[in-house]
Amino acid sequence: MNQEEKISSYQLLLLATFFTVGSSILELPSTLVTIAEQDAWIAMLLGIAISAIMVGLYLLLIRQYPGKNLHQINEAVFGRKIGGIVSFYLTAMTFFLGPPTVIYYLGRFLSIQIMVETPASSTHLLYGLLAIFAVALGIEVIARVAEILFPIFFILYLGLMLLLIPLVEFERLQPVFEHDFKTLLWASIFYVQFSCFPIIIMLTSFQGKVTQQKKAPKAFFLGNFFGGSILFITTLISVLVLGKLTALFNFPSYVLAQKINVGDFIQRIEMVITVMWFITLFFKLVLYFDSAVVGFAEILKIKNHRFLVVPLGILIIYFSLTNFPNDVYQLNQDKTTWIPHSFFLGVLYPIVVLIIGFVQGKLKEKRKGIHRPSESKGG
């Protein structure tokens, strides 16, 4: 019944936006300001530029292998065995490091800021079950939910940012360019590692399912760019309003929302940003999860991938509860494992695939050119 899942390019754009915004909308400004202080927004611009280049690279991948998902590309490039190993490494590692961390973020936020006494296991379980429910229904339904939630998200976001404008003080940006390029680049890595490199795994979810195949790359690119812009504005506003204090908070955007007070009427609305964050986090989790399910099904050669949803979902919930004994461990782990992993996944891997694919293509052309010039469809 659900064999023919189709999503439109507009839906793809929204999914990419949500994936990019992800957990970052609440936490990213803090990390950026810690490293680049008042120049955080420049680091963010740099990050957007880097992610534009990287996503451009992924688009090359799409163009070279139209309609194929990540694992089918692997098979085409590396052959069946090595391709399988590469696919398995990428999928398993991303599955192990990605979705549990996303749930952990949620649990951490809830137990620090909102519901201190509630044990993590219950919130993790609830969110995990929601994700299982979503992935079981399939990417098509998720995309539709994205379409309905996006206007809500966007209106809330715009409203928050507009309400914060009276609190802006431009002196907080000075001195501009206090930090050197290397520091800014290092800061921008904290954006791209969450929002740009891992977005390559979305290729597993949507490749071959977009109705207008031609518009897909553009939508994918724009979605990432749009999400980046949202994060850029958030970072800029938190620097302008909170200044260096941003670095001291775990959740600066939450503090930003706390500061809003318009005529003693619109006040205490920090729940709005929480709700927005729940939404973006949900999509990030679900997209990771879905790509993992599709990926494992592809590797294990299973036709009906719905079958893997519940067991893998239970594993995600388990990992989210046990992977991180405490916050400091998690922060440390985030840097030491996720940054290299996202480098492998989002930089090294596509470049290698592109180069090998290019060489293979060249070789094939040569061979064909000599022996059978008529056959041009193969490969």
């Binding site: 067991p311 440390n332 782990q333 992993h341």
Partner: protein, 81 residues
């Protein structure tokens, strides 16, 4: 202990529901895979609920990736941040 029993029961429930739902559409390979992965998840959760210390796989991941991270740090010349 009660938690472990509950986890086990929910595992059984999930299996029952899934198999009933899919009916004869499932082949053997899928069944085995399903039970295998579910077994890992449920088993680990039960052990955790009982209080058996389980090594954290994240430690291995950190050990695996640390050299690469050090490389990056060296490249950017950032310390401790």
């Amino acid at each position: 202990m009660i938690a472990a029993i509950f986890i086990f029961l929910s595992g059984v429930l999930v299996t029952w529901i899934e198999f009933r739902r899919a009916g004869r559409q499932i082949n053997r390979k899928e069944q085995i895979l399903f039970l295998f992965i579910l077994g890992i998840g449920i088993g680990l959760s039960m052990l955790k609920a009982i209080g058996v210390p389980i090594p954290n796989p994240m430690d291995f991941a950190i050990a695996f990736y640390h050299p690469f991270y050090d490389l990056l740090i060296e490249f950017f010349g950032q310390k401790g941040s």
